[in-house]
């Protein structure tokens, strides 16, 4: 290989990184050859660079089941469910952080205006329903994972299963540990009966401790105990590991059509429930609040709602494409 061609090949390989691995596996070689020929003819072109970046991002969206084309139907459903799981998990993590703040606020003193009251009732009902839907979705998946992992060729399932299990166990054990030191009312005599049990609120607060405005105030953050700061860094990593593991399992396990239909239905239900949760959160943001400081929405709550809306849009689109694909292929 000549030096200029070698340099062009390296440049083409760099541009190919915009595309997902599956796409590169199918089209990578021929696409690189085309790029090398284009480089020979026109060494620099910002239009070409933009086109490749746009094409790569579009291929990634397609791989995530968000464009509905041109994946094979069963793959489209699995990709859609995995993307929906990621979107809903993002929503839930940010939502639980907000909800835990309000539940703690309620335990200190009930809200003085209708805004937080309505928001809390809607959000709490949504969280309860989401927990039930998550449990219903996890059961058949766990059963399929166990069956696949026990097979001799189950290595491709064992790794994501271990990743998901490690993430979930770390999150559960760490949250339980830090929940014991939550800044709630504990057994203080002046504690008000909250809308949800204090232990649940404490667990939610500890699990989402990393969703905090303190990241923008390093001086204040430095005053925190080291263990707490460590947990603020470890807990999101554990959550990401758990979600990535579950998403990989959904994509790798060959679930029967009936289970795919069931999971797609549950994902639609979860996305609908999350809309109610978001409506409650928006109500709280817009209505303002009186009472203790925890009822006052801050910039981080507005930012969380914006991210949740984006993640929910992604989850709903992925679910909708999965259901559409299943209908067109008579899987549903």
């Amino acid at each position: 290989m000549t030096a200029p061609r070698d340099a062009s090949a390296r440049r083409a390989a760099r541009m190919l990184r915009w595309y997902p691995a599956a796409w590169r596996g199918r089209y990578g070689d021929e696409f690189a050859e085309l790029l090398i020929a284009e480089f020979d003819e026109q060494p620099r072109s910002w239009r070409r660079a933009v086109d490749v970046v746009r094409g790569g991002l579009l291929a990634r969206l397609t791989c995530a089941g968000l464009t509905g084309h041109p994946l094979e139907p069963a793959e489209q459903i699995r990709a859609g469910l995995a993307t929906a799981a990621c979107g809903l998990a993002t929503c839930l993590a940010l939502g639980i952080a907000m909800w835990a703040q309000l539940t703690i606020g309620w335990a200190w003193a009930p809200p003085g205006t209708s805004g937080p009251t309505v928001a809390m009732v809607a959000m709490s009902a949504s969280v309860l329903l989401l927990a039930a839907l998550a449990l219903l979705a996890a059961l058949p998946l766990a059963w399929a994972v166990a069956r696949s992992a026990l097979r001799r060729d189950g290595w491709c399932v064992r790794r994501p299963a271990l990743l998901a299990a490690a993430g979930l166990v770390t999150l559960a054990v760490g949250s339980r540990h830090f929940a014991n030191g939550w800044p709630g009312t504990g057994s203080h005599s002046w504690a008000q009966p909250g809308l949800v049990p204090a232990g649940v609120a404490a667990f939610g607060w500890a699990a989402t401790l990393s969703v905090s405005a303190y990241w923008a105030h390093p001086a204040a953050l430095a005053a925190f105990p080291v263990a707490e700061i460590t947990w603020m860094a470890v807990s999101p990593a554990a959550l990401i590991a758990a979600v990535a593991g579950v998403a990989a399992l959904v994509r790798r396990i060959d679930l029967p059509a009936r289970t795919l239909r069931y999971e797609a239905w549950l994902a639609s239900g979860a996305a609908g429930t999350m809309i109610i949760f978001l409506a409650g959160a928006c109500w709280w943001l817009l209505a303002g609040a009186s009472g203790p400081g925890l009822f006052h929405p801050g910039a981080i709550d507005a930012a969380s709602v914006a991210v949740m809306m984006l993640a929910l849009w992604m989850a709903r689109r992925a679910t909708s494409q999965a259901r559409k694909s299943a209908l067109s292929s008579r899987l549903l």
Partner: protein, 120 residues
Amino acid sequence: MAGPKRETSAPDAGSLGGFGRYAGPATLILSSLADGAKHGYALTKDVEAFAGVRLAPGTLYEALSRLEGQGLIEALESQDRRRPYRLTAAGAAALRAHLSDQRRVADVGLRRLAEGWGTP
């Protein structure tokens, strides 16, 4: 003047109706492959020669993957990392239908131009 009215309907899998913004590149690619198999770079050069349009690499491969996914083209064995594509029977039918539709529109436009504006 009342003419035959064509009902619009959801595009079927074997047509170019569902390609949206990729209908243009798809038409150019199918037209290029109509006279034989070509790989990516040869396709780009051929389209540039007959249509005056340079298909950028990302756009070309997005259209190629969609066409392949719908069975309108098929990939052949690769030659030195370059993989040629050829038109399928379904692709030929879809191209013929699409170009006939375009010709009908072009004929009407040209006739009305001639009636209203005269011939150049």
